[in-house]
């Protein structure tokens, strides 16, 4: 067995799997590399802001309020006299953390429930689908506002709780999408011969799901998750813009946009820089999702 594997691995003309194929396709696309490098840069900003700036994002001096970009402050100062460059760098963390955690939450719950519902069908499927309907029926922004106002009523909250609230509200309202995608692919996969064969051989349901179905069903959810990540970062900004998402002391691009929106006409730089980073990051994820989808779907090539 191991010998056989070794032979296969060294074989240059071996038939590639779906993902190998996709990777081969992706490597040749410039769009893929552009988006990946943009994402890496933002992730680096989030992980190690001190690489980019030595400033203190919490230092505000009113005397330099709304000064335009200059040599010592590349992006200028905002209304409170915060250094925008420093804030933008430090703001990446909250925005990325919200996006990543919300995506993980949505994909894990959605995909798990979806694959189970698709595989077992019957009453489980019926119940899960109806519960999903309940959450999908509430318009996203509206639902998020209601959830967040309720959670915010607690008052004085630390940064962890503020971030957790936003993640939770996004995840609660979005998991049905991932669940539906997973459910429909799982239903299709259940009819495939390899699943039937595994069943006939007496494999346990758990094993069938984990070993056979999951690898074949994961692609659509994967595509969804890259695009969703970008969308969730945008959702965070929208909620923060409405004043109910992230807030002080958390620094995020949405929070910066919220506090700059009233001064758009006198200090446009305070809005343009965070909005630009936000747009670019969302763009990067959407582009990546686009590239991955096209690579995974041979029909689109």
């Amino acid at each position: 067995m191991t010998d056989q594997m070794a032979v296969l691995a060294t074989d240059r003309d071996r038939p590639r799997g779906l993902f190998g194929d996709a990777w081969h396709e992706l490597r040749r696309r410039p769009l893929f590399w552009v988006s990946v490098s943009m994402i890496l840069l933002v992730v680096l900003m989030a992980a190690a802001p001190s690489l980019f700036t030595s400033g203190d994002p919490g230092l505000a001096q009113l005397s330099r309020s709304r000064q335009p970009p200059s040599a010592e402050a590349w992006f200028g100062y905002d209304n409170q006299g915060y250094d925008i460059y420093t804030r933008v760098i430090h703001g990446a963390r909250a925005s990325i953390v919200v996006g990543v955690l919300a995506t993980i939450g949505v994909v894990l719950t959605g995909a798990t429930i979806g694959i189970l519902a698709g595989f077992y069908g019957g009453w489980l499927d019926a119940v899960v689908s109806r519960v999903a309907d309940i959450f999908v029926g509430v318009p996203f922004v509206l639902g998020a506002i209601v959830i967040l106002t309720t959670l915010n009523a607690g008052g004085d909250a630390g940064p962890v709780r503020i971030v957790a609230q936003v993640v939770l509200s996004i995840a609660v309202l979005s998991w049905p999408v991932a669940m539906r995608i997973m459910r429909s692919t799982a239903i299709a996969a259940k009819q495939q011969d390899y699943v039937k064969a595994a069943r006939a051989l007496g494999a346990q349901p758990g094993r069938i799901i984990a070993k056979h179905m999951l690898p074949n069903c994961v692609a659509p959810v994967l595509v969804y998750s890259t695009i969703a990540l970008g969308a969730f970062i945008g959702a965070e900004a929208t909620l923060s813009y409405l004043g109910i998402g992230l807030r002080q002391p958390v620094v995020s691009w949405g929070v910066m946009i919220n506090s700059a929106k009233d001064y758009l006409r006198v200090a446009p730089h305070a809005l343009l820089f965070p909005a630009g980073f936000l747009t670019a990051t969302v763009l990067a994820f959407v582009m990546l999702g686009d590239a991955v989808r096209e690579a995974l779907d041979p029909k689109l090539r």
Partner: protein, 541 residues
């Protein structure tokens, strides 16, 4: 007056015929014009005793005229419906009202109209928002008994034995007497507030119908309401007051945000807005947007930061002084408010009769050195927390104040926003604040007393921080009973001075409100109560 428009109309025709630009020297006033002003949707039914928020007040104010009104020039009370208000002991007041006034439905305004309206508002089971304004009148406890276990508890408040305040007596058709439970020298000043307006018979016959189409006795009568969009009023031609409007129709248009209203104001789609939004004030943009359409004046409100005396370390007087001296009021009013706020130097508003400069002294002056010394003396080194609701444009200055304290004292100072005013208020009321907090006061009535007693006297209705100073209380009590206004003012000022070293609440600034009007309005003045002085409005002919 009604013949006035003829002249400018003819003049305009000549100008147009001669090919001149139309929009130059307009001399006349169009007394039949209609104007549109900014409003928010009234939160409560349009009944004077149940309206305490701005959206409803703008309507009630135009619909009703009370016993006294506050003059636009200096906010001093002048008799409106009252012929005279007499008292010998500041406890028993005899009110004589003017004859010949009618409500919009033609029924006469009598002493009974006032007494019935006040009784209705004060009566507990009617559950009005304005009830507490009548608490000084004798018999209030009987008509408005306390709920034994608070409003959230399962027990209901006992049903009052009577629905009439024993302190109110109708003498004849145009005279009634008011007896207070204790002498209160400034009482006649307080009754200009809208909750003291009279109500017609029609209200007591069919309250639902009244709420749908209110009937008042003021300069304007109700025309129509399109909930969530606008309320239309029109001039009441039989109005007997001196403040007869110089235009015909008044539309109060509901806006969802000040920002969108401002965009309309700039485009001349809106005629008046009494307070411009932050995006207009930023960088004094409003000057280029509006030019000579800017209207401004000092108004009767003050922003403060209150301390919770029930919470450590804010019961520490040195810390309170340190924080106050660490706030750079000058810089914040200039940078954040573009000079539309004036640093406060005491707890009494400068527009008040009897106001004295510098009552707070060095404690209200930015002084990093002294602030640090006082902070060191307090022995406190932990974090300082400032709480505020953010739905009223409070975010920017609260953040700046926290930063000012942080930068001056070198201590962690954090601003904690609360998204809704309701939640914020509730925690304030329940004494559950976790730090010092934003407080603000808009005068209910223009008296020096209103800036001290309700806020700082032990156990007062709005003394939410639970400040208590027996000597200060005694001085206030003495002032309340003073025989003359001058003596009362002198005693109130002494009380204010006594409070300064305690620093129970940090005075921040008073407001120089910036309003805006459209090209169509020749004159539109701002009232000290931060509203349009309807009496002053003149529309270009």
């Amino acid at each position: 007056m009604s013949r006035a428009p003829l002249v400018p109309l003819a003049l305009a025709t000549v100008l147009v015929a001669a090919g001149c630009g139309a929009a130059q020297t307009q001399t006349g006033t169009n007394t039949d014009a209609g104007i549109t002003i900014f409003n928010t949707d009234p939160e409560n039914p349009l009944v004077p005793g149940n309206t305490t928020e701005a959206g409803g007040s703008r309507v009630i104010d135009a619909l009703f005229t009370g016993l006294v009104e506050y003059r636009a020039e200096d906010a001093q009370p002048v008799n409106a419906m009252a012929e005279k208000i007499d008292t010998k002991d500041s406890k028993l007041f005899t009110v004589t009202i003017k004859k010949g006034w009618t409500f919009h439905d033609g029924s006469p305004v009598t002493a009974k109209s006032f007494v019935d309206a006040w009784n209705w508002t004060a009566y507990g089971p009617n559950a009005t928002q304005g009830a507490s304004f009548f608490s000084q009148i004798e018999g209030y406890e009987t008509v408005h008994p306390k709920d034994p276990d608070g409003p959230d508890g399962p027990q209901e408040a006992p049903k009052p034995a009577t629905d009439k305040l024993s302190g109110l007596k109708v003498v004849d058709e145009h005279t009634f007497t008011i007896t207070l439970s204790e002498a209160f020298s400034v009482f006649p000043v307080t009754i200009g507030y809208e909750v003291f307006a009279p109500l017609p018979e029609a209200f007591f016959k069919d309250q639902k119908a009244f709420e749908a189409a209110p009937i008042g006795n003021g300069p304007f009568k109700f025309a129509s309401r399109n909930v969530g969009t606008d309320i239309k009023l029109t001039r009441f031609d039989d109005y007997k007051g001196v403040d007869k409007p110089k235009f015909k129709d008044l539309t109060l248009k509901v806006y969802q945000s000040r920002e969108s209203a401002y965009a309309d104001l700039v485009a001349n789609n809106l005629d008046f807005m009494e307070e411009l939004p932050p995006n207009a004030l930023a960088g004094q943009k409003y000057e280029t947007d509006l030019g000579d359409r800017v209207v401004q004046r000092e108004t009767l409100n003050m922003q403060t930061i209150a301390f919770p005396f029930y919470l450590e370390p804010y019961d520490n007087v040195d810390l309170r002084r340190a924080i106050s001296m660490a706030i750079n009021r000058e810089e914040i009013t200039q940078r954040i408010f573009e000079g539309t706020r004036k640093p406060a130097d005491g707890w009494v508003h400068p527009l008040m009769k009897g106001y004295q400069k510098g009552q707070c002294g060095e404690y209200c002056t930015f002084n990093p050195q002294k602030a640090k010394e006082s902070f060191a003396k307090s022995g406190y080194t932990g974090e300082i927390v400032l709480l505020s609701n953010t739905d009223g444009g409070h975010q920017e200055w609260a953040e700046a104040v926290a930063n000012s304290i942080k930068n001056t004292l070198g201590v962690e100072a954090r601003f904690v926003p609360s998204t809704s005013f309701g939640e914020f208020r509730q925690k304030v009321n329940a004494h559950e604040m976790t730090g010092m907090y934003r407080a603000g006061w808009i005068a209910d009535y223009p008296s020096i007393e209103n800036w001290l007693t309700p806020l700082y006297r032990t156990g007062s209705s709005s003394n939410d921080g639970l400040y208590s100073n027996p000597a200060f209380d005694a001085k206030l009590a003495e002032a309340d009973k003073a025989p003359s206004e001058e003596q009362a003012i002198k005693l109130y000022l002494e009380a204010e001075k006594m409070m300064a070293p305690d620093m129970p609440v940090i005075p921040l600034w008073t407001q120089n409100t910036i309003a805006g009007k459209s090209d169509r309005l020749k004159v539109a003045n701002l009232h000290p109560f931060r509203k349009l002085d309807l009496d002053s409005v003149e529309v270009v002919g």
